[in-house]
């Protein structure tokens, strides 16, 4: 959508009168420039400085290791950079009003320990996760700790893709920003079947 010079001037006057008009104008107009930096702000330091409170150190170490095997650091950040285990601990430590959620996680970590995850080295843990996850690929397969895999995967996925590391640095999410135009599809091949 393009605007005439008159419309843009009119917009300047009117938008300046809006709540937070100056901020809106500055970012909105910048957004129209061809070279645009990511407008996503940095992640607050909450988790960077967070000390685990819900899990004991053995469980937390196991959980952290689990999350990093599920979402490793490679050419993009992983669960470590996103502080996924920290987020899960933070969430559960805040869940006094949902005791069932806390209990479920305690049971899961106990089952993980019983499966030998805590005592295993990195290769052993990787092998264990491979075994635990088999029912996901093969519905006829069973593993007593499959529910732990599902639980950690779900929460870890959420923690990762709602972090800046996951949302911006990995997926390059473009929304939630001020934009002068909406980018139309310009691919001829998308306009015919």
């Amino acid at each position: 959508m393009s605007h005439t010079r008159r419309e843009l001037l009119d917009l300047l006057v009117r938008a300046a009168a809006l709540p937070a008009g100056a901020e809106f104008l500055a970012t909105w107009l910048q957004a129209g420039q061809a070279h645009r930096h990511s407008a996503a702000p940095p992640q607050p330091p909450l988790l960077r400085n967070y000390q685990p409170k819900f899990f004991d150190s053995a469980d937390f170490e196991a959980l952290q290791s689990f999350t990093e095997i599920l979402i490793p650091t490679d050419d993009t950040p992983g669960a470590r950079e996103a502080y996924c285990a920290h987020f899960i601990d933070f969430l559960l430590n805040s869940a006094d009003e949902v005791p069932a959620l806390q209990k479920h996680w305690r049971q899961a970590m106990a089952a993980l320990k019983q499966a030998g995850f805590h005592a295993a080295d990195r290769n052993g843990r990787a092998a264990l996760i491979e075994a635990m996850s088999k029912p996901e690929r093969d519905p006829s397969a069973h593993h007593p700790a499959y529910f732990v895999y599902q639980l950690v995967k779900r929460e870890n996925t959420f923690a990762f893709y709602t972090s800046r590391s996951g949302m911006i640095d990995t997926l390059d999410y473009k929304g939630n920003t001020y934009n002068a135009f909406f980018p139309a599809c310009t691919h001829p091949e998308h306009h015919r079947i």
């Binding site: 009117r14 996850s133 893709y161 997926l171 929304g175 939630n176 920003t177 909406f182």
Partner: protein
């Protein structure tokens, strides 16, 4: 002594805001009462990334249980604990509500489609139910008036079942929408951009959309139509409007001449009852709240000589849909696909003329489709695997997400779907709440099944790969592109069900009926101007008047009915010293 006004408007959503504007512009002294709190867009609405919030938008575990909505928008939704409702044992209905200045206009889906004449005259065509007391010809000038004011981004297409209006330029299609459009055309189906009350240019002192995709969290600049951004500022500028928020209306008071005297409201925080008088009383809250007030205001219900008050409740059929991926887009660059929060529309293709008549069900439905990147990859935790390969696969599919959903499916009006006052449960202010009796019939289910079949055909034609485990779960107007985890029950009041809107037939937050319009006072509560048949100075604006849902989103029709009703009210008031 009660303070007196020319008109009292109860509720500040789409219809209440419009009525307050039109009547105050005409010189009436208007009191606008809103049960919820004042909303300051500068404070409430801003761009916040999930990672900037401690709980990533979900709120502290347990906290949002009493609210509808997410951490971003619960303040513009409702506190279910203060405002409960109940449901009959066989009812699975989730009543989506807001209580704040502007009501649901602050987070609505903005869909602004005109109903066609075949919908107003559905009963004459297929013999079921009752025709509207207005025709398309009656409504067309009012649709135009509303469209000119609110600003609707749309394309003129000439489809008989999807009437054109007075439109602003369209928003461009993203890649997924272009593919879906091509698929529809190759199937010989009609297709157009979603028609949205979202500005694409400067319009009536409001700036154009800046494509942040935050519509359901409240638009920070007023580019989408809402009471707060559009109608209220005009009303305030007249100097004729008095606005009282946190004012919970408990009843309409009558005088001895069978006229509404005014209303009694309870101050939300002091619990003090206050009487105010008005020459005209206009109920313009949400559909079911309007009916609740009529039920509260007289034994057997106010303006209920027809016995139809509370009955014929409807909500457009929701549920089903297809989610998956468009292979053409896999692995492509990330684009601002969700910035306009829009999509394409496939207008109704069944039962609107002889050629499209079906034998297995009556009435029709509209479909929407969109795709591309979103704030959160909702499919990721259901995608098998883990590790670097899984991460790459998530990213590959992230930009190729696609979905088709039912925009509006007509639900048949049945008398046995009704609301009544719950004899036991009261709200925070001691006011009896409503109990909802709501089930679907075979026709509703057949219509949804036909939609599902058609949606899957459409998806396949576009080349889409269906991901059967992920279906669009949230009805329009609720956050559906963000993380919708079910770690806690954040939603409904007692008896209502989340699951009813996930994988089975459900509603669309388009509840209508319960005080339908009719030509004869024997058949309904309202006349064609939304004036009650029984009480000359009592009007009800909202979805209440609908004798049938039609297949279009209801808000534009509600606004047009309000504009028409206000014209009628002003005509009635001429020469009567108001």
């Amino acid at each position: 002594m009660a303070k007196s006004y020319d008109a009292i408007v109860v509720g500040s959503g789409a219809c209440g805001g419009w009525a307050a504007m039109q009547l105050s512009e005409a010189g009436m002294k208007v009191l606008l009462l809103e049960a919820g709190s004042y909303v300051n867009p500068a404070r409430e609405f801003h761009h916040t990334f999930l990672y900037q919030m401690d709980y990533r938008g979900q709120g502290k575990p347990g906290f949002l249980r009493r609210y509808s909505g997410t951490a971003r928008n619960y303040r513009i939704m409702i506190d279910n604990q203060e405002n409960p409702y109940t449901t009959a044992p066989d009812t699975t209905y989730r009543w989506g509500r807001s209580r704040c200045l502007g009501g649901r206009t602050l987070h609505w889906a903005r869909a602004s489609d005109r109903m066609a004449d075949y919908e107003f005259k559905a009963a004459s065509r297929d013999g079921y139910g009752m025709d509207w007391a207005v025709s398309y010809a009656d409504m067309s000038p009012y649709y135009s008036r509303v469209e000119r004011f609110i600003g609707v981004s749309a394309a003129r297409e000439g489809f008989p079942q999807f009437p054109d209006g007075e439109f602003l330029p369209v928003m461009p299609l993203n890649c997924a929408e272009a593919i879906f459009t091509a698929a529809a055309k190759s199937l010989g189906w009609p297709t157009t951009h979603r028609r949205l009350a979202q500005l694409t240019k400067l319009h009536n002192n409001r700036p154009p959309c800046h494509y942040c995709g935050n519509c359901v969290n409240g638009c920070d600049v007023g580019a989408m139509f809402s009471t707060v951004s559009a109608t209220l500022p005009v009303a305030v500028r007249t100097g004729n409007l008095e606005l009282r928020t946190d004012s919970v209306v408990a009843q309409v008071r009558m005088n001895s001449e069978n006229r509404a005297q005014g209303v009694t409201y309870i101050e939300r925080y002091t619990m003090k009852p206050v009487d105010v008088d008005g020459k005209y009383v206009i109920l313009a809250g949400s559909t079911l709240e309007n009916t609740r007030l009529l039920l509260l205001s007289a034994k057997g219900g106010l303006a209920n000589s027809s016995g139809t008050l509370g009955h014929y409740m409807m909500d457009q059929v929701g549920g089903g849909g297809v989610f998956g991926f468009l292979p053409q887009l896999k692995g492509g660059p990330s684009r601002l696909d969700d910035g306009k929060s829009a999509g394409i529309t496939i207008p109704n293709m069944v039962n609107f003329d002889k050629k499209t008549a079906r034998k297995d069900f009556i009435r029709g439905y509209v479909m929407n489709a969109t795709g591309g990147q979103s704030e959160y990859p909702i499919f990721a935790d259901r995608l098998p695997g883990y590790g670097s390969e899984w991460k790459k696969e998530v990213k590959t599919r992230y930009v190729a997400q696609a979905r088709v959903w039912i925009a509006g499916g007509e639900m048949l009006a049945r008398k046995e779907n009704f609301v009544e006052l719950d004899p036991e449960v009261k709200d925070h202010w001691g006011i009896p709440v409503i109990k909802i009796h709501f089930t679907h019939c075979d026709n509703d289910r057949k219509l949804l099944a036909h939609f599902q079949q058609t949606a899957e055909e459409f998806f396949r034609k576009a080349g889409g790969e269906v991901m059967p485990m992920v279906r669009r779960s949230a009805p329009t107007g609720f956050p559906d592109s963000g993380p919708n985890r079910a770690t806690e029950d954040s939603g409904p009041s007692r008896g209502a069900s989340h699951e009813g809107r996930r994988d089975t037939i459900g509603g669309s937050i388009h509840e209508v009926g319960t005080a339908r319009m009719s030509v004869s006072p024997k058949d309904g509560v309202l006349n064609s101007f939304c004036q009650t048949h029984d009480i000359a100075n009592l009007y009800v604006f909202g979805g209440n008047a609908f004798p049938s849902t039609g297949d279009k989103h209801p808000t534009l029709t509600m606004l047009a009915l309000t504009a028409r009703g206000c014209d009628h009210l002003l005509e009635q008031a001429k020469g009567k010293n108001v």
